[in-house]
């Protein structure tokens, strides 16, 4: 029996090869892409879930009341971690955490290493297994270093690493460290990426020694392992006394200044963020929000694409069943019962699905490398090879085949014997289903297309927006060499001074956009002004900062060439001026603990942060010998490439061992839009696939309709219908469906995109054309698809079409 089914299935598939091919192609594309997208989403969702104690690990952050409302603060002070463990019950283990880059030397070789500075509990909390060396407490000493396998290979090759000495540049000195342990390379689903791990106390003076015992200097993150018996909410509540004790000043000031307390009525509250949520958390806009929208959106797109391909399959199967009526009737008279017929037709579907899934997997394997480069992801198909996930996948494939293959099979097996023998099929009811499914298909396609258009508009808007500084002519790069920052800048100035294509050179401790090295930092300063607490971003700059970036001074002056004479001057932006609220802003001063600074100038607001945030108050300082981190070089607008090469050459002569990681600021801005670009590419390719698949379905339907109405077309032509009249007759039913789809999808798309745009402080206005554009694209493509077959039918010789009847 089974053999008989397979045989007849194969013969049927062969007989209807056009439709088989359309189905297999559509389903293969859908499965291939769905596998890749699902893989991507699962990969994203599985980040940081490999830690054995993961469920008990939390990042400790606080909700602080500030002049701008409640803000999340993940930076903690030096004494915080130890005090929390001592004073509040429920802290099983705790570690401070700083991630940064250091310059490591071994003999005459130098290596840039990403580094985690942590406390000894780190290795007991997180699952980064030590495979060699001291397994119990490898960073007990402040001169120990733990390395990953990969870093060990880079530094020592095949030499035995344990016990070796390396030196690390710290406060302009080479400090020796002994390798005490080798740790397994962290899985690629780890947010914490490092080459080496050092004791927290091994940091430089500025980051550690200076901050000892200071509750007001917050510069690192804190992670803790919660005792099993304690609930996170309960723990958060029990920290109230701790907060009251250690942050009394801050809380009193917040109350005095009338800041908004958080939802619990507190002015400062410690909170726990589950480790797995950290990657999906937004700390920039008020209280922390955790959103996994992106991976779920990707999963959603893959589901929609599969859905569209399955709709094609269902529609084609039902439409083709008319041609198999006689077979169905005959089998019934030969003794087949409903169940047997159902399994026969279902079996045929399963065959098509199995072939498509097989090809889809091959397609996914083939596309994987391109996918990985395009989306800069390390997700691989192995991501999906976990037993419970495989089970889910297999079940969903079964479910899809059960529904997509089973529904037409059910319809067919239910037909009456005599009715089907006579070849009559009551099709009215089924056309409703077909039409609704096609409306849904095109609705999805239109939704995705308009989403892509809006997204693209917003990204273009952000990319091309005038940010208030010169982003086209300025190259920025990290000062990542051995020299101290001031020396490096000095040398850079000297080297570049006479070059005609170099306009000016400066440096600052922040970066605009996102540099090639991918590191960023912000420092926010809080102080008292006229009896109120105010907050400002603090940016320390070198000479010519304002000139290099073409910032506009609207009041007062820029820093002098002789920067030392301005060490007690600050220049503020408009937002800061507004916050200070002085009648004569240039006569005002700000009083920090260590000194009093005079405001000498006000610059026009510029977007020093990303466009999802409003421009915050900012103050430029000209402090001497500060850690400046990034150089900025403005070049003349002719031949930017040559200028880039010159700057690179200059840096290579100054720091021969350091990599030049420079890029123009507009590239830096572009880099901050990576998330959005990924989304555009995902949704965009999803929408292209959706429209192609929908059109495959439409094409198949037009083939069938034309075949069914061949005689009618012939007769109409004989009685005088024109080609266009017939084309319209055949096309209008389908176009109607696309138009209905548009009417349904547009408001949904509008609503979704409106909500998404709320994430951006600077955003485009939605306009009707984006949606009409998407609808128009769908209509035109649909029309072209049907036109191929219908025009051919309409122009064919009517005598011929009647003869073949």
């Amino acid at each position: 029996m089974f053999k008989n089914y397979i045989k007849i299935a194969l013969r049927n598939l062969w007989k209807n090869r056009t439709f088989t091919v359309l189905n297999v192609v559509g389903l293969t594309a859908a499965f291939g892409v769905a596998i890749l997208l699902a893989m991507y989403a699962v990969f994203q969702l599985s980040f940081d879930r490999f830690h054995e104690h993961g469920d008990a690990l939390y990042m400790v952050y606080s909700e602080d009341s500030t002049p701008n409302g409640v803000e999340a603060n993940i930076s903690k002070s030096e004494p915080f971690a130890a005090a929390l463990k001592d004073e509040v019950a429920g802290v099983e283990k705790i570690t401070r955490y700083v991630s940064t880059g250091v310059l490591l030397s071994q003999e005459d070789k130098q290596f840039g290493m990403s580094t985690a500075y942590v406390d000894p509990d780190f290795f007991n909390m997180f699952s980064f297994p030590i495979i060699k060396g001291d397994k119990t407490n490898p960073i007990a000493s402040e001169s120990s270093v733990v390395m990953t396998e990969l870093a060990t290979k880079r530094i020592f090759g095949d030499e035995e690493p344990i016990g070796q000495t390396v030196s690390i540049l710290r406060d302009e000195q080479q400090v020796p460290f002994t390798v005490t342990a080798i740790v397994k390379d962290s899985p690629n689903t780890s947010s914490m990426g490092f080459d080496i791990v050092l004791n927290f106390k091994s940091q430089n003076e500025h980051a550690y020694a200076r901050t000892i015992g200071r509750w007001d200097m917050e510069n690192h993150e804190v992670y803790m392992q919660l005792a099993e018996s304690v609930q996170p909410k309960q723990f958060e509540k029990s920290t109230t006394d701790f907060t009251q004790l250690h942050y009394k000043n801050e809380i009193d000031n917040a109350k005095r200044d009338g800041f908004q307390p958080n939802t619990d009525g507190l002015y400062r509250q410690l909170k726990l963020l589950p480790l797995a949520d950290v990657r999906f958390a937004n700390f920039n806009q008020g209280p922390v929000t955790v959103s996994r929208t992106m991976p779920y959106l990707v999963l959603g797109i893959s589901t929609l694409i599969l859905f569209i391909a399955c709709v094609n399959f269902i529609n084609m199967s039902i439409a083709k069943s008319a041609q198999r009526l006689r077979e169905i009737g005959m089998r019934k008279t030969l003794g087949a019962n409903k169940k047997q017929l159902f399994f026969q037709f279902w079996g045929e579907s399963i065959l098509v699905f199995l072939i498509s899934i097989g090809l889809g997997i091959l397609l996914a394997v083939f596309l994987l490398p391109y996918f990985q480069t395009l989306f800069k992801t390390q997700a691989s198909l192995a991501t999906l090879l976990n037993p419970s996930l495989l089970l889910v996948l297999i079940l969903s494939v079964l479910l899809i085949t059960l529904i997509a293959g089973g529904y037409p099979a059910l319809l067919m097996s239910r037909l009456g014997t005599l009715q089907s023998l006579k070849g009559k099929l009551d099709v009215n009811g089924k056309n409703h289903l077909r039409n609704s499914l096609m409306v849904l298909q095109f609705g999805i396609a239109i939704l995705l297309i308009s989403g892509t258009l809006v997204l693209w508009d917003q990204v273009e808007f952000m990319r091309t927006k005038d940010l208030g500084f010169n982003k086209d002519q300025v190259i920025a790069f990290p000062l990542n060499g051995q020299l101290n920052d001031q020396q490096a800048i000095e040398l850079l100035r000297n080297t570049l001074q006479d070059k005609p294509n170099i306009v000016s050179v400066t440096a600052s401790n922040n970066i605009l956009g996102l540099g090639k090295d991918g590191s960023r930092s912000t420092s926010v300063l809080g102080f008292e002004h006229q009896g109120r607490g105010v907050e400002t971003h603090m940016v320390v700059v070198d000479a010519d900062y304002i000139e290099t970036l073409d910032l506009n001074i609207i009041e007062g002056r820029s820093f002098r060439k002789n920067l030392a004479s301005d060490s007690l001057s600050v220049i503020i932006n408009e937002a800061m001026a507004k916050q200070l609220n002085e009648d004569d802003i240039l006569a005002s001063q700000i009083d920090l603990d260590d000194a009093v600074y005079s405001v000498v100038g006000v610059i026009k607001d510029f977007n020093f942060q990303e466009l999802d945030q409003n421009i915050a108050p900012m103050t430029l300082f000209a402090l001497p010998n500060w850690n400046l981190r990034n150089a900025y070089v403005k070049v003349s607008s002719q031949n930017l490439e040559q200028a880039y090469t010159d700057v690179k050459a200059a840096w290579n002569t100054i720091e021969p061992n350091a990599e030049f990681q420079g890029s123009f600021l507009n590239e830096n801005i572009d880099r901050t839009l990576r998330h959005e670009r990924t989304m555009i590419t995902m949704i965009g390719s999803g929408s292209i696939l959706a429209i192609i698949l929908s059109c495959i379905g439409l094409f198949a339907m037009s083939l069938l309709i034309v075949a069914q109405r061949k005689k009618e077309i012939g007769v109409r032509k004989i009685v005088g219908a024109s080609v266009s009249a017939i084309t319209i007759l055949l096309t209008k039913d389908f176009l109607k469906l696309v138009v209905i789809a548009f009417l349904i999808a547009s408001p949904i798309a509008w609503w979704a995109m409106h909500n998404w745009l709320q994430n951006y402080a600077y955003r485009i206005e939605l306009n009707i054309w984006m949606f009409l554009g998407a609808g128009g694209i769908a209509v035109v493509i649909a029309m072209l698809t049907i036109a191929v077959k219908t025009i051919k039918a309409a122009t064919s010789n009517p005598v011929e079409s009647l003869r073949t009847e």
């Binding site: 029996m1 008989n4 089998r331």
Partner: protein, 223 residues
């Protein structure tokens, strides 16, 4: 006395066509004994096919009693009815109704598949049947590669393979020329001699003559 195979008692079939109630079969009474060869005659539209379909359980009478081998078909559940039908009845159609995607061999084999006959047994039975109808050489051909007469032979072979007690043939020679018709009718006569009960519908006097009894229908009534 012979066994009564089919017994119709006031059997009626009415359908609703729009708002009208149309009587297709009107109080039909007759018995068919095992071994009979009955010819149903009547003009086109007189209800022959309807009657055969109802006897063959492809369709139902809407009134009256229908007993098959002593079992009351009219009050039977669908499932039992199809069991009865699978076991005892074979159909031959005017339009042959072979399955286009299956070869001659496979077409003949299909009813055995639905009866769950074992593979080895199936092979033997189909081989026998091919032999008997002299179509061994055509067993791997598809229906469209055969002439009408040959297709009907396959149709009959398929009806016979399940060793039914009753063969219902609805104008089995309607699409054939006179020579082919004669061969098919000879075959029926032969089968009847071997003990198979046959009911055929036909308009042809000469075909009807092969039967042992003629029943005339007109407007759904026996006349």
């Amino acid at each position: 006395m012979q066994n009564i195979l089919v017994s119709l008692n006031e059997a009626t079939r009415t359908v609703n066509s729009g708002s009208n109630k149309v009587t297709l079969l009107d109080n039909i009474n007759f018995n068919v004994e095992e071994g009979e060869f009955i010819s149903l005659m009547g003009p086109s539209g007189s209800g022959k096919s309807t009657l055969l379909n109802c006897i063959g359980m492809l369709d139902n009478f809407t009134g009256g009693g229908y007993t098959f081998l002593g079992e009351p078909v009219h009050s039977m559940k669908e499932k039992n009815r199809s069991k009865l039908y699978k076991e005892y009845i074979g159909f031959v159609f005017q339009a042959y109704h072979l399955i286009d995607e299956l070869t001659v061999y496979e077409n003949i084999e299909t009813p055995l598949l639905y009866k769950n006959v074992k593979s080895s047994e199936r092979k033997a039975m189909v081989a026998d049947m091919l032999d008997r109808f002299n179509i061994v050489g055509k067993k791997d051909l598809f229906p469209i590669q055969l002439s009408g007469g040959q297709q009907q032979l396959v149709g009959i072979a398929r009806a016979l393979i399940g060793q039914p007690k009753l063969i219902l043939a609805d104008e089995p020679t309607g699409n054939l020329n006179s020579k082919q018709s004669e061969e098919i009718m000879e075959l029926f006569a032969q089968l009847n001699k071997e003990g198979v009960t046959i009911i055929q519908a036909t308009h042809s006097e000469s075909n009807a003559a092969y039967g042992s009894r003629i029943i005339n229908l007109l407007d759904g009534k026996i006349v």
